[in-house]
């Protein structure tokens, strides 16, 4: 892929990345043996997988029949129930939105589920077509609005009802299956920290689960996916309620953005395993070994999705051109990105700009490492989610593993945080405006050692090492001192 670039259309995804015909044509023209669909755009579209196979090219992902079966959320719910997996209480057939004579039947079903409840699209996720309904009176309008949005987004207006599990944690299980019927779970990820039903942070293992909970969760995930004949890579999503019960949500029949945290915990290269499976190999020894340890994870990994968004303004996209760009590195740090200084972030696609991952022997160490790594990130030119991430890794509830999908709403006050930063920026800008070059503003020297930079922290306050800053501080002290 790196050695050949093929134009598939103009920037808007609808005219390029979402055009099945153009992508398949490009693969055919390039003489590709296989197509890996990534984790966006067409990755979970059964008709794309089918078109690739029809062109005689191997699709590196689940079989198109399984993608189709799991893409119909109602069919997936029915399959899970038949496999004995508890699903979020709700309906199993599309609500008859266009039939006034059926309103009472829908309302009856809704009363059984209980309010508040969710209207959800049968054909897809990502919050599209989803409506929260607080009272029976709101239901008819919510059904119509949700159905219209679903029709516009997915080309299918089917919607159904689901109980609102709240507060809830979003916990998902990584699955890998070969073509010989072996399907295994490779541990779970907690992805509760979300905005707009989209993930901001993911970690593995999910904090606070018992071994029994893990075993049960993994086993449910395998059952739900096996029922749909799943092969290759997929993720089964569950809600975890405060009582400790898991409720099946859906199976995403593709690699996920956050697959890297599972790679760090298991030591696997999931994309490589996908290719091996697509080439007809059985699950590798390494996968089987990792699956055997899935309920006894010995590492902890966390991923931050660094996005070009304004966390003081409902995480609104903030495209632009990057000025400075410096990412952390070193032990236990993995950064997946394609960007560098000077590059433009176009408004046409998802605002994700880098995935910053850390791993360590335990969660506390991983968070300490992440805290240090976040303070080494240097980006100018665009607003990013970095301030949110810095606050998160210092938040007592997050440190205690007390997360939920309401975390952002309950814990994050972006405007207040930004206001505090403005106060500091005003002072810093004034200082920078008057400081002459070569005479930087410096705090009074600490312990009275010539050539020593001071720290304003009281002695004994442990602070994580920051390599980039440490180097600069060292240089400041050494280079500027007359020898």
């Amino acid at each position: 892929a790196a050695d050949l670039a093929v134009r598939i259309g103009p920037a808007p995804a609808g005219e390029s990345y979402l055009r099945i015909d153009r992508v398949v044509d490009a693969a055919r023209t390039a003489g590709a043996d296989a197509v890996h669909p990534g984790y966006g755009f067409l990755a979970e579209r059964a008709d794309f997988a089918r078109a690739v196979e029809d062109a005689g090219i191997t699709f590196v992902g689940p079989r198109w029949q399984a993608i189709a079966a799991l893409g119909d959320k109602l069919a997936a719910r029915r399959g899970a129930v038949q496999a004995g997996v508890p699903v979020v209480p709700g309906t199993f057939e599309p609500a008859l939105v266009e039939r006034p004579d059926q309103v009472e039947a829908v309302l009856d079903a809704a009363r059984v589920i209980g309010f508040p409840l969710m209207v959800k699209a049968a054909a897809g996720g990502g919050g599209r077509g989803m409506r929260r309904v607080n009272t029976p009176e709101e239901l008819p309008a919510a059904l119509v609005a949700g159905s219209r949005e679903a029709a516009a987004t997915f080309g299918d207006g089917s919607v159904y009802l689901e109980r609102e599990v709240r507060p809830a944690r979003h916990v998902e299980v990584q699955l890998l299956g070969d073509n010989e019927g072996h399907l295994v779970a490779l541990g779970e990820r907690d992805c509760s920290i979300q905005r707009r039903h989209q993930k901001l942070v993911e970690e593995s293992p999910a904090p606070g689960l018992t071994r029994d909970q893990r075993v049960k969760l993994h086993e449910m995930a395998v059952r739900a996916a096996a029922a749909a004949g799943l092969t290759n890579a997929a993720t089964a999503e569950f809600l975890l309620d405060p009582a400790g019960s898991f409720w099946f949500l859906e199976v995403n029949a593709r690699l996920q953005v956050e697959h890297g945290v599972t790679e760090l915990v298991t030591g696997l290269d999931l994309v490589r395993e996908q290719f091996l499976i697509a080439a007809g190999a059985p699950l590798s020894e390494a996968v089987v070994a990792a699956a055997a340890l899935a309920a006894d994870p010995s590492r902890h990994a966390i991923e931050i999705r660094l996005s070009a968004e304004d966390p003081a303004n409902v995480f609104a996209p903030a495209p632009g051109r990057i000025g400075r760009w410096w990412m952390p590195a070193g032990p236990g740090i993995r950064v997946d990105t394609a960007l560098e200084a000077g590059e433009r972030i176009p408004p046409d696609y998802d605002p994700l700009i880098a995935k910053l991952m850390v791993d360590a022997a335990d969660r506390a160490t991983a968070i300490a490492r992440l805290r240090r790594a976040l303070d080494e990130v240097e980006i100018t030119g665009i607003q990013t989610t970095l301030p949110f991430d810095r606050a998160l890794v210092r938040n007592p509830r997050f440190l205690a593993g007390d997360v939920s999908t309401d975390w952002v709403a309950e814990e994050w006050d972006g405007q207040a945080e930004r206001a505090r930063a403005i106060e500091l920026a005003v002072v810093v800008a004034a200082m920078a405006a008057t400081a002459s070059p070569g005479a930087p503003n410096r705090a009074p020297v600490g312990p009275g050692v010539p050539g020593t930079t001071g720290s304003a922290e009281p002695a004994g306050t442990p602070k994580p090492a920051r390599t980039g800053w440490a180097r600069a501080a060292r240089q400041d002290a050494v280079d500027r001192w007359p020898s």
Partner: protein
Amino acid sequence: MAELTAGDDPIGPLPGVVDNTADPIQAGSVRVRVRESMGIDLGPWTVDPEGHPDVRVRQLDEARAVIDAAWTTDLGAIPVVLGNVEPASRSGARRREVVVGGWRILLDVEPEASARLRDRARRGRGDVAHTGPLEVRAIIPGRVVAVSVAEGDLVEAGQQLLVVEAMKMQNELRSPRAGTVERIAVGVGQTVDLAALLLVLR
């Protein structure tokens, strides 16, 4: 540290920042204005860079610093990146980008003494800026998906003007003040660049 109220400060008093009506000014004082999106400013404040013992800044190199500020320690020592500097429009100020703990803040900075000279000159001419037309410009590049007002409409502060879609998300643009829609410069479906003129309020 004394807390003094700043001029037209929408975010509350700034600790250690001196009210810009105070006289006489400190030598070396700086006038700072924060440029927000939609042409909205915060400030100005008159800041004495020497007058902030609580904001301890360790400068590491020409582009990096750390703030060890007692009243913000719940977020740890805060990394600062000093970004771009360029001339600000229509004044002697310089526009500076400061990234504080990941927050990207754009500020116009100029010596207080020269700012006051300009103030006096402007008072002589009479300042009409606040009653003149206000150009509402795109704060992100994207596609216009809705225009919620028509030319001639009276709008209130905070009223939705139009909706721009970018990066899979819809962004409402609201009116920064009350006024009349003098001109609408874009239509639904149109792609707009950053800072493109969207409409004019009077």
